[in-house]
């Protein structure tokens, strides 16, 4: 297999790296670039714990080849925290509402909520549930997560 030299912006910084054609973006982020907020969950696009922002949209990084990231703007929770308007507000509210227990799903949920509020700062409860429908949480029963996002919308 022929390696590909790719470069992209990762949390605002330029990254250049050589990847194999069958490298998965999630594995490169975690294994080679030390970005640990996206997790390896179902590894087939169902659970949402590997969520990252790619060119401003939430994407399953377990379903992207690393080579596809060439030229992209990638933001993970590590970077969204300081660069995206809603992320830190959401994190504070999640903390306050105890909206996670083990925390495994939290980076994905917070990025999904970040994308939602960037598109629709007045999101309804229905919009919120729809936006996080692809992020599975096995601890909380979702209620505190939905409440945390609702309260972020209301600016409480």
């Amino acid at each position: 297999m022929k390696n590909h030299n790719i470069s992209f912006r990762l949390n605002g910084e330029k990254v250049a790296i050589s990847v194999e054609p069958n490298d998965v973006l999630l594995d490169v982020l975690r294994g080679k670039l030390g970005i640990k907020s996206p997790k390896v969950g179902c590894d087939r696009g169902d659970c949402g714990t590997c969520t990252i922002l790619m060119n401003g949209r939430t994407v399953r990084s377990c379903l992207a080849l690393a080579a596809e990231a060439d030229g992209a703007e990638i933001v993970t929770l590590e970077g969204a925290n300081t660069t995206r308007k809603w992320t830190q507000k959401l994190q504070k509210k999640f903390h306050e509402k105890n909206a996670f227990q083990c925390g495994f799903c939290a980076p994905g949920v917070i990025l999904s909520a970040t994308e939602l509020l960037e598109k629709n700062p007045k999101a309804s409860t229905h919009d919120i549930k729809e936006a996080i429908a692809g992020n599975l949480c096995r601890c909380t029963g979702y209620e505190p997560i939905v409440e945390a996002i609702e309260e972020t919308v209301k600016g409480k």
Binding site: M1, K2, H4, P21, N22, D23, V24, D27, V40, D43, R44, G45, D46, G48, T51, R57, T58, V59, R60, C62, L63, A64, L65, A67, E68, D70, G108, S112, E115, L116, K129, E130, A131, A133, G134, N135
Partner: protein, 297 residues
């Protein structure tokens, strides 16, 4: 999980180059757009290509455009693109409604309509809507271009009319000439992210003609001409509905799988047909539930 299969990755910048790769490698080449099916298949060893062709740099495949009454969904247009299109919502509301039911936001941001019909699983959510809008699939190969009506596109479970040396360029459809109301009704195990246990799309026109299509209720998604014929010319009422349900049962052949039993599907197909038609007719007259809000679960 790493991918065990070894392959080369290419990202052609022009169509000719891409078509040459498909012509040379045929079944050993796989097109990569959103990757939401392909990467899963690569991981599970269900796809073992020698070359993966990333088609995202091909300008001919880009865009979503509504011009002169025709909607052109470029092969790279995602379900999110459909959902965010005011033209799709206004002129093809059933396709818009179906797009909302596909997986989850993080998948819809990458998954393409063209990819959905190329994967051609019996439960493809876009398929019933494309069928009732009588879409045409535009494909290109080195030998030239051709268009395949959606009714001839699906040839079996995960099988299509696409030849190994061809690439889907776009899916096109004309807005129905008459005003319509419609509905895509999806049965799933829970609200949120799930594949369809069954899906029914219905269009209703003021002259009492109807278009009906189904997914996940047989080996391939598609129109239900017998159910349509049972309804034609009639105002929707209990008698015609019973006739349409009986006709529908003659043209679906659901199976038992992990998501549902055959018997449940047979029962629910009739319930869904009735509710989809009732919503379609109500919406035709500006009533009924808002598009995007109707679902059985």
């Amino acid at each position: 999980m790493p991918i065990a299969t070894e392959f080369e990755y290419v990202k052609p910048k022009d169509m000719d180059e891409a078509l040459h790769v498909f012509s040379l490698y045929r079944e050993k080449a796989r097109a990569l757009a959103g990757g939401t099916d392909l990467v899963v298949h690569l991981k599970e060893g269900l796809a073992r290509p020698e070359v993966v062709v990333d088609i995202k740099a091909l300008p001919e495949l880009a865009g979503l455009e509504f011009k002169g009454g025709t909607l052109r969904i470029g092969a790279l247009a995602t379900f999110t693109d459909l959902i965010e299109s005011a033209a799709v919502k206004a002129s093809f509301p059933v396709l818009w409604e179906a797009a909302l039911t596909v997986a989850s936001t993080g998948v819809r941001n990458r998954a393409t309509v063209a990819g959905n019909i190329c994967s051609a699983v019996p439960s493809a959510d876009s398929a019933p809507a494309l069928a009732v809008y009588e879409a045409v699939v535009l494909v290109r190969g080195l030998q030239g271009a051709r268009s395949v009506p959606i009714g001839e596109w699906f040839t079996g479970p995960k099988k299509t009319a696409l030849q190994p040396d061809e690439l889907v360029v776009a899916v096109e459809m004309k807005a129905p000439p008459k005003k319509h109301g419609g509905c895509y009704m999806k049965l799933s195990r829970y609200e949120g992210e799930d594949l369809a246990q069954g899906g029914i799309a219905a269009l209703a026109f003021a002259d009492n003609t109807y278009r009906i299509a189904a997914c996940a209720l047989g080996p391939k998604p598609g129109r239900c001409p017998a159910a349509e014929a049972a309804l034609t010319g009639a105002k929707l009422g209990p008698k015609v509905l019973e006739a349409a349900k009986a006709a529908l049962l003659g043209e679906i052949s659901p199976i038992t799988d992990i998501r549902s039993s055959k018997e449940y599907r047979v029962h629910m197909a009739q319930v869904m047909l009735e509710r989809a038609l009732q919503s379609a007719v109500a919406r035709l007259f500006g009533k009924g539930p808002k598009y995007g809000s109707e679902n059985i679960c």
